[in-house]
């Protein structure tokens, strides 16, 4: 495309903005169907044990109750999961693996009646001593939570010869780092509504992020063929990786109940249910050792990572791989050995959450880089720059990129705009007995696309109507990240149509191709490419038709501003609506379905060496903080976030992602921790589990770097996840710098700061 971009790279508001600001946008819990019933699950309430007897008689007789669903009532295998062999029952028993296990589903006329009845179910459970410590769960004589033992998944990465590397190293730093459980805490709790249709099909409206994954599991568990199940995704109030297993469970249960009763059945989680019955971020124990030469050249790194996966496998296998690949950080390290394991415990299961293992290992890695700088007496920025990956160099998996490696540019931008030397001077200049200032840096990278997690195909459709308006369909979902707007911009750019004329459909599994899960920051990159491809074919039709009308070859035509015109003589133009109408009557295709398929990952499964991701997002964060040593409170004075996004399709959208992910990173590093006692969550509500509010907002300034990748539309790479890890690690290093104390456990809450100060 030779003409300058018209919509790509322009800051535009969300195309569904009016619906969202007027309250017209309907989320799953807002949908109304006549005769709808409400359902509530009775949870185990015990972290581990054996269900001896479940008495539902009183609940069945409760006012308003129409059905109490128990495992015996389920027509299917009563199992869900991400990877076979699936290990998570919809309704648990006899083995109870965590307090949030559902035992039965009560369906009643109203929510109050369902809740009242659920509390009347009597579960006789013989309790076990819960296995809560991931290291203990791995002991040979530990009780087995699943038949195959407590090791969920283990992988290894081997590059070079790590022993030889450490033998050569002139300095070695070594430490153990820990992170805690973070909840997604999207504002909209999970919700589903299952509607039996008159043609024998089942429609499930779901606040979810992977509609096809849901469809498959709902079909199997209700005994319907998948083609009789339709999953529709209304507006979703945030997901961040979270609306997957829990919603699959809810959709399957509601579906089974709805089919049995012939009435719509709705399940809307309370906030407490969301804490107990969904999955969260893996807590991690990371043992890390790094060897370097005196000049700062990092030569070897060894890591042992243990992820607490909770009761079920969920996405643990994939999080294992991501942590494994990213613990080396964005550095060229010739000798690596990483062992990463996930383990079952009697806690709420861990699964996908924004960052997917990367925030945990980035915190460890970047803390250790600072420790290394201290030991070597080197500048922290210089040490990172010295080891930074660049184009043409092998990363942790020995993959070499020849384009789109913008790490050094992000380092440079942060150094310049942040005035690093001045930051260092400022850091302790104003210190007094109460307030201490510090500055922290973090560099990071995050793989884009499913990579080692499997095939990466996305389907998209583009259809132009005779009036020149455009309908785009995509198999990946809008979760708030602005993907509908970005897809509309891509189609608008290629077809020369103004943004107002573009609609992007809600996902409905009947009408789009199975495109896998909306994960891994792949929507813009792989999904956008599919829209790009689908639009190109329709563009060809329009160009050829316009050529016939303007008596010129198709190559001489350009599309723009809702017109087709001669590139050399823009006065010769025809409104696109006329071209589209003519194309229709002439028989040119005006709709196209395209598939984009990311290059397959090719690597050795024993060593994880090879081509894994189609691109990486690189970033550098800088934070200046002031710590109140009397209260432990931290004020972030300055935050610069630079990321290589390839190409910002919508700068406003990208900024929003950077700011939002960074603040979630602050939550991870400073405020948020799901607390548990004997396997029971103590803070399953927003009063006791604190997410950042307006008061904690960061003064984030985004510094874009655009090193285009040929694997994304217009060069774009995803940005939804990476800033979380960058902000969390920079915060940690800033607080450690301010106080001269190395924090090795997240979150660094005010309480932990005070404890550390007391020594």
């Amino acid at each position: 495309m030779t003409a300058p971009f018209r919509t790509i790279g322009q800051p535009v508001g969300k195309i569904d903005g009016v619906e969202l600001v007027t309250g017209r946008a309907r989320y799953t819990a807002d949908l109304q169907f006549p005769g709808s019933l409400q359902a509530v699950a009775r949870r185990a309430g015990v972290a581990a044990g054996l269900l001896r007897h479940l008495n539902v008689e009183e609940a069945r007789r409760s006012p308003g109750v129409v059905l109490v669903l128990t495992p015996a009532d389920l027509p299917g295998p009563n199992l869900i999961g991400i990877l076979p062999p699936f290990d998570q029952p919809l309704l648990a028993g006899p083995e109870i693996r965590h307090e949030g296990d559902s035992l039965a589903l009560v369906v009643a006329e109203t929510q109050e009646e369902a809740e009242a009845a659920a509390s009347r179910i009597v579960a006789e459970i013989e309790p076990f001593i819960p296995l809560l410590d991931p290291e203990e769960a791995l002991h040979a004589d530990a009780r087995k939570i699943h038949a195959n033992g407590n090791l969920t998944f283990a992988k290894q990465l081997l590059k070079g010869d790590v022993e030889a590397g450490f033998a050569q190293a002139e300095v070695i730093v070594e430490d153990t780092y820990r992170t805690s459980v973070q909840d997604h805490a999207y504002l909209e709790p999970e919700a589903v509504l299952a509607v039996p249709e008159s043609d024998g099909r089942l429609t499930v409206y779901a606040s979810c992020q992977s509609p096809f994954h849901l469809r498959g599991h709902i079909a199997v568990n209700t005994g319907l063929p998948a083609s009789r199940v339709k999953v529709v995704q209304p507006f979703v109030g945030g997901s961040f990786g979270g609306k997957d297993d829990a919603v699959t469970e809810m959709g399957s249960l509601a579906g089974a109940a709805a089919l049995k009763l012939g009435r719509p059945v709705r399940i809307v989680h309370s906030r407490r249910d969301s804490f107990l019955g969904s999955h969260a971020r893996h807590a991690a124990i990371i043992h890390l050792k790094t060897g370097a030469m005196r000049d700062g050249t990092i030569i070897a790194r060894q890591a042992e990572i243990l992820l607490d996966g909770g009761a079920y496998a969920s996405e643990s296998p994939f999080v294992v791989m991501k942590a494994l690949i990213h613990v080396a950080g964005p550095y060229k390290i010739p000798h690596l050995r990483v062992d990463c394991r996930a383990v079952y415990t009697n806690k709420r299961q861990a699964g996908a959450m924004r960052g997917f293992g990367v925030p945990q290992v980035t915190f460890a890695s970047e803390s250790q880089i600072d420790a290394l700088a201290r030991k070597l007496g080197l500048d922290r920025w210089e040490l990172r720059r010295h080891n930074a990956l660049t184009v043409g160099e092998a990363n942790a998996t020995s993959q070499v990129f020849h384009e789109s490696v913008g790490l050094v540019q992000t380092l440079e931008r942060v150094k310049e705009e942040g005035d690093w030397p001045a930051c260092l001077k400022r850091a302790h200049a104003g210190d007094n007995p109460r307030f201490k200032r510090g500055v922290g840096l973090a560099a990071m990278m995050q793989g884009i696309s499913n990579g080692a997690e499997g095939i990466d195909v996305v389907g998209a459709s583009v259809q132009v109507s005779q009036d020149g308006s455009v309908l785009v369909g995509l198999g990946l979902t809008e979760l708030g990240q602005g993907s509908r707007t970005a897809m509309a911009q891509i189609a608008a750019e290629i077809l020369g149509v103004s943004l107002e004329k573009i609609s992007v459909r809600q996902v409905d599994t009947d009408t789009v191709h199975d495109s896998g899960p909306t994960v891994a920051s792949r929507t813009t990159t792989v999904g956008g490419k599919a829209v790009w491809m689908a639009a190109q074919t329709v563009r060809t039709s329009l160009l050829e038709m316009a050529g016939l009308m303007l008596k010129a070859p198709a190559e001489a035509i350009e599309l723009g501003l809702d017109h087709a015109y001669l590139r050399e003589n823009p006065q010769a133009q025809i409104p696109l609506a006329q071209v589209a109408t003519a194309a229709y009557w002439t028989g040119f295709p005006l709709m196209n379905l395209a598939f984009s398929r990311a290059p397959d990952a090719q690597y050795d499964h024993e060593t994880h060496q090879g081509q894994i991701y189609i691109a990486y997002n690189y970033g550098t964060h800088l934070m200046e903080v002031e710590v109140d040593t009397w209260t432990g409170k931290v004020r972030v004075l300055r935050h610069l976030a630079s990321h290589d996004v390839g190409k910002a399709i919508n700068p406003l959208g990208v900024e929003g992602q950077v700011e939002g992910a960074s603040l979630m990173g602050l939550g991870f590093a400073h405020l948020e921790e799901v607390l548990e006692e004997n396997g029971k969550i103590r803070n399953a509500n927003f009063a006791d589990y604190q997410i950042p509010s307006f008061a904690e907002r960061l003064p984030t300034r985004f510094l874009p770097v655009e090193e285009a990748t040929s694997n994304g539309p217009f060069g774009a790479k995803g940005i939804g996840e990476p800033p979380l890890a960058g902000a969390a690690a920079a915060f940690t290093n800033a607080v450690s710098d301010a106080l001269g104390i190395s924090f090795r456990r997240l979150p660094i809450t005010p309480q932990r700061i005070l404890e550390a100060l007391e020594g």
Partner: protein
């Protein structure tokens, strides 16, 4: 429990409702009046997703029971745009990308409206305090902040242009100084 009859005005329309004393305003709005723009995020007054105006004051609809709203006037997100045109706050939210998933947006907009109604040119600290009760998990709040500042300015300008002569100029000057 004994039923209760209440009279409320919602977005300018009067309703007489048969309800129960333990019913929350949130349920009355969402279920009885099918005004589902008001959201439930926590149910305990911590997230602000259910913020509506009762007699002009921002309240959490999940904490208010039916008897407390008898005879009162309520404004919800559905009543914010007048005669089909967006309120300046709504427009500013769109222009600034001040939402992602949009679930917090109705509550955020109502809290912002309550703030600007009593304090047309709030300081940054006042905006922070005025919106502190509404949580957003997506945006990082920066774009929301900018949208509210912008809308305040737009509202003032329309107000000022409606006032003739020196009074208008004086207000304009004061706002200029306040910035």
């Amino acid at each position: 429990m004994e039923a209760l009859s209440i009279q409320i005005k919602v977005n300018g329309h009067s309703h007489r409702l048969q309800t129960f004393p333990n019913r929350r305003l949130l349920d009355i709005l969402r279920e009885d009046l099918t005004l589902t723009g008001t959201k439930e995020g926590c149910g305990i007054g911590e997230c602000g997703a259910c913020t509506v105006l009762v007699d002009g004051e921002a309240v959490n609809a999940c904490l208010i029971l039916a008897p407390q709203v008898d005879g009162r006037e309520i404004l919800t997100i559905e009543g914010l745009s007048e005669r089909g045109s967006l309120h300046p706050l709504q427009q500013a939210f769109i222009d600034h990308f001040a939402f992602q998933c949009g679930f917090c947006t109705p509550g955020m907009l109502m809290a912002a409206k309550a703030l600007l109604d009593v304090n047309p040119s709030p300081s940054r600290e006042e905006i922070r305090q005025g919106l502190a009760g509404v949580l957003c998990r997506c945006t990082g709040y920066i774009q929301i902040f900018e949208a509210v500042e912008d809308a305040a300015q737009a509202l003032l300008e329309t107000a000022v242009s409606g006032i003739e002569g020196t009074a208008g100029a004086a207000i304009a000057q004061r706002t200029e100084e306040a910035r």
